[in-house]
Symmetry: D2
Subunit: 361 residues, 4 copies
């Protein structure tokens, strides 16, 4: 048995931090070495510092772990997952990278930087090639660096779009999302705002969908990202759902395609070979359903242990070519699970500190 | 004081029927003469026959009224509002029209017929001109006839679209709806299907939005309807909201327009002069809000006593021209209130049995 | 027309403050002179300082009013309604009373003090007699003083209990509440905590029900409160309801009573004569329903414009004598409306500054 | 490897039937031989006959199984689980018992019969002794018979009550429930009735709690059931929760007990030794939490894979002795899982057809 790689979580007490804990507390490749959070929590037992908001309870093995401060000097691991709020993530993540740590980040701060990879392993693993340039340009020592994953609703959309873009070339797309409250963290959305209601606005979200998707669907050539050339418009809405973002998509292609071809393409897609069979990989990144009224967050959110995107209602679009509905788990595939999968990919590639020599095939 | 016009309700015990009762039980122009329902209910006291599902209780004056069968011979009034389910509406409404009754219908059965008006008073009152042709063609005696109003989500959308189509000419539009459960009637949507969930499918709804909107936004020339020439695609979703359909719209115009021009046009619009100041008319058919996160069903659904559509988030659309959100009360403006307003318009025009001679200016 | 009494609101920007604004912005006896809030809000336009959380929008007449600091020197009115959080209410309310202002408070801080009246006008108006003693003991000048209303769930329960206690003498009672999220203010309960969930705990609530109810159902003799001698136990729960607290009650009486006698007693009860016909009084303080599955918050919360408590399911209790369900609007009858009704009662009694000489009969 | 026992499900297409399928489709002791339902479904593929309402999809191995009619002649298995609605369960279950089949029933029809066991394995396995008397009295051939489990809310309450009754003797108890919508089956509760609402009434439920609990907590002596002598009152409410019934309990004991003693008794309790370690047994039938605001349905419903009851808020009761909150999964522990556990207990006892000779220890 290979030695597991020690990892830490920055922002371990918050909502996304707790998602990381669910995924990492008994991970086959990673060993949870540091739970880091704000000064206020540092020094406390994790069970005291965190208000556990999901189902069940804090894993027994972590209840008594002392929380450390989210500073490079206080964290032992060389690989850290960042569940930090964007208000503080910029500074802290940079400090960790400068200290030679590899940061896998959920925060939006560096996603659109020209030397920062924004990656979904099944879609654009090649973007990780930019890491060397990043280190050189920014002077990060050793294996220091920042790898990001996209906004939750964008990840759900891009997993459904990538196979179609690869085959038919998307030219135009309309996106309308209905997003779960867990996407806003905790305490997040007040119940008085959302019970029996729809809020047709999520701050900054439409812009993220309209830009991050193009970076991930685009290429990486000669050391630079080339965003996909797609005209996109997004409408983002908050709905009274706990977990699971639903995304309605109307698509226009370069190469005309029928709904049947689209469904068949999605069904056949397995994602980049590099991303298959990782510990957190789902059996299929995209699952296509024929049920007339699926996907639904309550019934499909746990498909592939929250790592699959479920696509349904693939049909002709009277304005563009094809329309469909995609749905995925926003705090698993769309947040913590995305970072963990990125880390697993890096480990397989031997690019994670401690993963050298093909130790994690 | 003018004598009120006697009216009846077909399907008076169901959800839409109850909405009619709320609007008509103390109406200044109409007197509720007949509460008609299925054979099963006929003969019962209304309070016993109807399971009252909204707030409050059955109006005191109607509790002891005996329900009659939904047959022309059992109904005294010459004007009837139809809240019938489409499964039975086709046959029954036709029987009433053939018996010389004027039917104001919520059902979908005859909406798209070439001699049946599909009307929103503020938008296309001129379409009522087809009634004479309808009577001649179908042999309806006297004032017999069928006037319809559109599907609930279509009405909400069209009220926001009409001012813009009139001024800028809509060429393309993308529609994504989030619809309240009351739109499915009672018992309607099982709670196990919708609590904390989104259902991305409402049977037949997308087709209605894609066709009914074009008929209402289109013209009526030489005795024929000329549908608007707009490329439309719709995504219809059910969400856990009681009342109020939210509609996200992306619009492409013939004459380019900025978000400011769109907002100003909507603010200035008062609808067709014929429809102003009717008993059920709202002060403004369309209200524009500048709040960044409105309209919201829970907070705005009662605007204009449920008869106004509230529009917000008017902004540039990166793919077409402008995008916005519209929201309106689906069982008031989108159903019973729509029929009542149509009847008031006909009364003002002197075209309702009993309204002759300018009695209802 | 009598001159209206100038009043202020302390904590005008919060959730309860907004409820006060709904009730007071066009009140026939009171004129809203001061909107006071924290230092942070002072100086801002009300529309900018308050995040309006209920339906509709800030009343037009108040949008541009400047918020003042919640300090006696900054507030002109001699009568102030306190919507302050208990964390700050203690000090601020005392400062106002010492400055000669009469404070009508929603906060829990002084409710159980032996010289502070805790009043429901229909139930125990006589408790206001303690005001003189309060002023003397505490050295409040002029008309300075503090009058409180109870916790929201307690008010709902006590309105149903008072008629029964007056006639049959309650000895024992079980109380189980299901309370709306608006009772926790705004932002209050996070949606992740309550969507599709029940929280079987509301901090301090059970103790309030168990003590405040006894003070209000008790007497006031020789200048002292004599709490009712009732053994009470309460279970308080939060449920995903917007407005309306539902209270299940099992009651044991001194004088045995049947469900029929209980229902008849509740139906006949009109409350203390002093409280009838005030501007905010409902037609009936308690409404009894025979429907087998009512009261329900969604359907009955607006009974009597939110000021009536609706009682249903009056039936035999196998353990004590009778059980029943009571439901009332927690932010109207249970909070702001309770304070306003207390103020109206004091105005009628000529005990409010500016109400002398029978000006408000 | 022992040969598995063939079992069938009556009412396999409904909501409870689907719960049985989840528990039985890969059960170590039982082999699902027959899926029986109404005439209307008979002959169809299961995937076509059942509208699958929970998460995920119909187990692959059952999609193509042909549904048979719920008649003894059409069902091969000698052991059948009944998920039938009480409207038809009486007749059908009796027909199966008369045909020599052992029926494990969820329906209320025979629960209170003097020769029918109403069993929770951890609580009153001895009641199964009545089966011989039942067979003799009713003339059931071979291993024919009827074994029932209680109503869902009663099971949750009784698991918390049994340890306390055994040690301290319960004399009086007050029960207030907040029950999930899944308890009403599918389509069950209309969303218009329950979204943002509480319904303070569930038909027949309070009577079931007040009687079934006494039978299960009572004894079985000389061939007869002796109900526990406890004065009980119940208030049953429906709340907008998907799964998990929450039960507030106030308890008065024969032997006075403190909250600490109560908590310690619950913590120590393992249930009857006969019921430990069965395939569906949870590690602990009752779990006690110290969190101040737990148990909560959304966070605790899956404890022990839905088979544990979680108890919290054990505290002094000012009127009786102790109060607490219990919560459990109504369609697992409170329905299908209860029947399956009863069957496993019978198999261990060698009393299930096919379990003779200690085959299932």
């Amino acid at each position: 048995m290979t030695k597991r790689i020690r990892v830490g979580i920055l922002g371990a007490t918050g909502a996304v931090g707790q998602s990381f804990i669910r995924l990492l507390h008994d991970h086959p490749w990673f060993e949870l070495a540091d739970l880091a959070a704000s000064e206020r929590s540092a020094g406390k037992r994790y069970a005291d510092a965190a208000r556990w908001i999901g189902g069940g309870a804090v894993p027994e093995s972590l209840r008594d772990v002392r929380v450390v401060a989210a500073e490079p000097g206080a964290v032992q691991a060389d690989v850290v997952f960042s569940a930090l709020d964007s208000g503080v993530a910029g500074e802290i993540e940079m400090a960790f990278a400068r200290a030679g740590k590899l940061v896998l980040s959920n925060a939006r701060n560096y996603r659109m930087e020209p030397d920062v990879p924004l990656v979904i392993p099944e879609v654009n693993p090649g973007h990780l090639g930019v890491l060397e340039r990043q280190r050189a340009a920014r002077g990060f020592p050793g294996t220091g660096g920042i790898v990001t994953n996209a906004n939750c609703s964008t990840i759900v959309a891009v997993l459904a779009l990538a196979p179609l873009h690869q085959r038919f070339g998307i030219e135009k797309m309309f996106v309308a999302t209905m997003q779960a409250v867990s996407g806003a963290g905790y305490p997040g959305v007040p119940s008085l705002d959302i019970l029996g209601n729809v809020i047709p606005h999520i701050s900054g979200e439409e812009e993220k969908v309209e830009t991050e998707s193009l970076k991930m669907l685009g290429g990486y050539r000669d050391g630079a990202f080339v965003p996909a050339s797609i005209a996109v418009t997004a409408h983002c809405n908050r709905v009274p759902v706990e977990n699971g973002h639903t995304v309605c998509l109307s698509l226009g292609f370069r190469v005309r395609a029928t709904p049947e071809q689209v469904a068949e393409t999605l069904r056949a897609w397995e994602g980049d070979a590099l991303a298959r069979g990782l510990p957190t990989s789902p059996a299929r990144p995209v699952i296509v359903t024929d049920e007339p009224d699926r996907p639904q967050p309550r019934r499909d959110v746990d498909a592939g242990r929250g790592m699959s995107v479920v696509v349904g209602r693939v049909r002709r679009d009277p304005l563009l070519d094809v329309k469909l509905v995609a749905m995925g788990h926003n705090t698993v595939r769309g947040a913590a699970g995305a970072s963990v999968l990125n880390a697993e990919l890096l480990a397989r590639m031997g690019r994670l500190p401690g993963s050298e020599g093909g130790a994690f095939p």
